[in-house]
Amino acid sequence: MTNHWYMLTLIGEDKPGIVAAITQALFEQGMNLGETSMLRLGGNFTIMMMVNGVDDETGLRERLEPVIEAQGMCLHIDPIKARLHEHLLPNIQVTVSGADRAGIVAQVTAALASAGFNVLDLESDVAGTADKPVYIMQIAGVAEVSVEAIEQALETLRQDGVDVNVSPIETYIG
């Protein structure tokens, strides 16, 4: 086994069996999975996964080709540093909702970045209906500054009618 890690990005139209087919192919070629994110975005199934094992980038691509084709997926590969076992603990969460319009994510995250907030996890959905789409976003991250300072950074967005909630995350360890 080599110590090289790769991030595989796979995207395709959602249908049952994608994860099983891809991970079985990786297992059969002696690859090991690290952390992964697999979820449906709109009608697409998206996979990002850390892998390491016997194959290098060329080997991975060659051996995954048949299953990728059968599943109708696109594959992208990047060499990465694994840095496992270094989870950062989020201490602030931000939830945002409002009528969908261009720029919500950019404005919220720019305000957060200006307060030194580091995004660890951001999930956003388009809810509502096609006529009246609603944008809903949840962000968990780390900041040195207080919840109040984050609130202040987001104040102008509130005045623009975006519903923003900031709350501390007090992780219980026991």
């Binding site: 989870h87 992780t171 219980y172 360890i173």
Partner: protein, 173 residues
């Protein structure tokens, strides 16, 4: 006093159901002192349960008095044979565990509970707990029943709409 070894996942002993304490003696109290020292030694541990150090008796310690933002709490509590007799509301928050290093996840717990227990001398205790402290008690009592928080982790994404609907759920009488 001694710092005890902590069992970690996937040790099958963590799935064991613990027995009630029947004898409240000096040996029990000496163990509780060790358990407390072990809790204090754990990175940022708020609570600890006896089975986490391989003693399968219904004993937990929690101390919710040291959060960054103060929360309602009863100070440091040693709870022997704790039992939750009433649950109300539910809410989601992040938990981690000395027995599951480098992992945290969101768990749904009751917002308010009533709890009865014994102290290390065997005297009766009763508490109404809410929020973070109620969460602490539920997390630790789970250990006594062989349950880890990883068995209860939920996705933020899945829970979003529930939270919207039941945001005030904890306040329903």
């Amino acid at each position: 006093m001694a710092i005890l070894d902590i069992l970690t996942l996937p040790d099958p002993a963590l799935k064991q159901v613990s027995e009630p304490v029947a004898v409240f003696d000096d040996e029990l109290r000496a163990f509780i002192d060790d358990l407390e020292e072990t809790r204090r030694n754990g990175p940022a541990a708020v609570g600890i349960a006896a089975p986490q150090v391989g003693r399968f008796q219904r004993i937990v310690i929690l101390d919710c008095s040291t959060t960054r933002k103060p929360v309602p709490n009863h100070g440091r509590l040693v709870l022997v044979n704790p039992e939750i007799t009433h649950w109300e509301g539910y809410e989601m928050a992040r938990e981690g565990c000395l027995s599951v290093p480098d992992y945290t996840g969101n768990v749904i717990r009751a917002t308010r509970i009533h709890l009865v227990a014994r102290d290390p001398q065997g005297a009766s205790l009763a508490f109404d707990m809410e929020g973070y402290e109620a969460r602490a008690a539920q997390h630790e009592i789970d250990h006594l029943d062989g349950m880890l928080f990883v068995d209860r982790v939920v996705s933020r994404r899945t829970d979003l709409f529930k939270r919207k609907v039941y945001q005030k759920g904890g306040k329903i009488k």
